[in-house]
C-alpha cells in the first residue's frame, strides 16, 4: 500500500513536466524530422542538397568560425571579470556583479539595438571618431561579421561567468596558501595552480557558450544586417521567406544532432549545476 502511494505521488510530481515536454516538444520535433525526409518529396533529397548547396555550406562554415571566435573571446573576458567577482575586495565584487547581472537581465533585442547604436555608421563610435578627426569615413563596424561577433560576445559573457565563478569558488584556499608558502610568485600561482583548478568550469563555459552561439538568431539578424547569415537565420529564411520547409527541417535536424553529439562527447565534463552557476 505504502509503495503504491509513493509511486503515485512520484508520478504526480514528475509526470506533468515530462508529459508537457513530450507532447509540446518531442512529438512535434519528430514531425520536423519527418518533414526533412518528405518535403517536397520522399527521400534523402534535402540532405543531399544540404551537403552540396554552396550557400548552405558557406553558412555552416561561417557559423562555425563565428562560434569559435566568440567562444574564445568570451572565455578570456569572462575569466577576468569572474576573477574580480570572486576574489576582489567587497567594492570590486559589487561592481563586477552589477556589470554581469544587469546585461544578463536585459533582453537580447535591446542589447542588439544598443550595439547597433554604438557601431552603426551614424553610431556613437563613428560619430566620436569623425568629430575628433581621427577618421573621415565611418568604419564598417556593424552589418558585418565583426558586429555579429561583438554582439554575441557581449550577450554570452554572463553565461560563461557563472560556471567559471562557480569553479573559482570551489578552490581550496589552502592549496593557494601552500603554493605561496613554497615561495611561488603571484603570477606563478595564478597560472600553474589557480587556472588549472578551474579547467572544469572553463570547459563547461566553453561548451554552453558554443552551443548557445550555434543557435543564435536575433543578434546576427540585427547586427549582421543580412550579410553574415548564420545557420539559425538560414533556417528562419527557409521556413518563413522562401517556403522551403524540407531544407529548413533538414538543417534543424543536423543542427540538433550536432549539438547532441557535442554534449554526449563532453558529457563527463559537464555538471548541470555548474552550467547555471
Amino acid at each position: 500500500m505504502i509503495g503504491k502511494t509513493i509511486t503515485s505521488r512520484k508520478i504526480l510530481l514528475l509526470a506533468p513536466l515530462l508529459l508537457f515536454l513530450g507532447l509540446a516538444y518531442v512529438v512535434p520535433f519528430l514531425g520536423v524530422v519527418r518533414w526533412s525526409f518528405t518535403m517536397p518529396e520522399v527521400g534523402l533529397g534535402q540532405y543531399r542538397a544540404l551537403m552540396t548547396d554552396p550557400l548552405v555550406q558557406s553558412v555552416f562554415i561561417r557559423t562555425l568560425r563565428i562560434c569559435l571566435i566568440v567562444t574564445a573571446a568570451v572565455l578570456v573576458t569572462a575569466y577576468a571579470i569572474a576573477y574580480v567577482w570572486v576574489r576582489g575586495s567587497s567594492v570590486q565584487r559589487m561592481l563586477a556583479e552589477f556589470c554581469i547581472l544587469v546585461p544578463f537581465w536585459i533582453s537580447v533585442l535591446t542589447r542588439a539595438f544598443g550595439w547597433l547604436a554604438m557601431l552603426s555608421n551614424r553610431g556613437l563610435i563613428n560619430t566620436w571618431l569623425q568629430s575628433a578627426g581621427v577618421i573621415s569615413e565611418p568604419l564598417a563596424l556593424a552589418r558585418n561579421e565583426l558586429g555579429v561577433i561583438i554582439g554575441m560576445t557581449h550577450f554570452l559573457i554572463p553565461f560563461a561567468v557563472f560556471p567559471i565563478a562557480s569553479a573559482m569558488r570551489s578552490i581550496d584556499e589552502r592549496v593557494l596558501l601552500a603554493a605561496r608558502g613554497m615561495g611561488a610568485s603571484r603570477t606563478r600561482i595564478f597560472w600553474t595552480v589557480f587556472v588549472p583548478l578551474t579547467y572544469g568550469g572553463l570547459i563547461g563555459a566553453a561548451l554552453i557558450v558554443f552551443v548557445f552561439a550555434l543557435g543564435f538568431f536575433v543578434t546576427p539578424a540585427i547586427l549582421g544586417g543580412g550579410r553574415s547569415v548564420m545557420v539559425a537565420e538560414l533556417v528562419y529564411l527557409r521556413i518563413f521567406q522562401s517556403p522551403d520547409w524540407g531544407l529548413g527541417a533538414a538543417i534543424s535536424v543536423v543542427l540538433v544532432l550536432f549539438i547532441g553529439a557535442l554534449l554526449a562527447l563532453m558529457r563527463r565534463f559537464i555538471k548541470p549545476a555548474h552550467l547555471i552557476g
Partner: protein, 122 residues
Amino acid sequence: MNSSRPGPVILIVATAVALFLLMPLIAVIPVSFTPARFLSMPSGTLSLRHYQALIDNPAWGQSILLSLRIGILSSAIATALATMFGLGIWMFQPRFSALLIGFVLLPLVVPPVVSAMTLYFP
C-alpha cells in the same frame, strides 16, 4: 586573503570588460532622444517624439500588455511544472534521475529557431 586579491593586470582587463558590458546599454539612452526617424545619435537637438509615439500609438500599449500577459502566464506555468519536477527528483531520487534531468534541459540547448519551428508543426 590579501595575496589572492586581483593584481593590476587582471583589474585593467576586468575594467575593460565591465565597460564593454555596460556600453551598449548606456548607448540606448541618448538614441531614444533622437529627433530622427532612424536609429541615430541626436546631433544638436533632442526630441521626445519617440516617447510621444509610445503613448499616442495604441499598438505599443497593446503589445506591452500582451507581452506582460504572456510573460506572467508562461512564467507561472513554467515555475509550477519545474517546481513539481524538482521536488519529485529531490524527494524520490528515481532511477534514471540524470536522464530525466537531461531530458527536461533539452529546450535549453536546442536552438530557439528549431524550437519555434517545432511549435509550428501541428
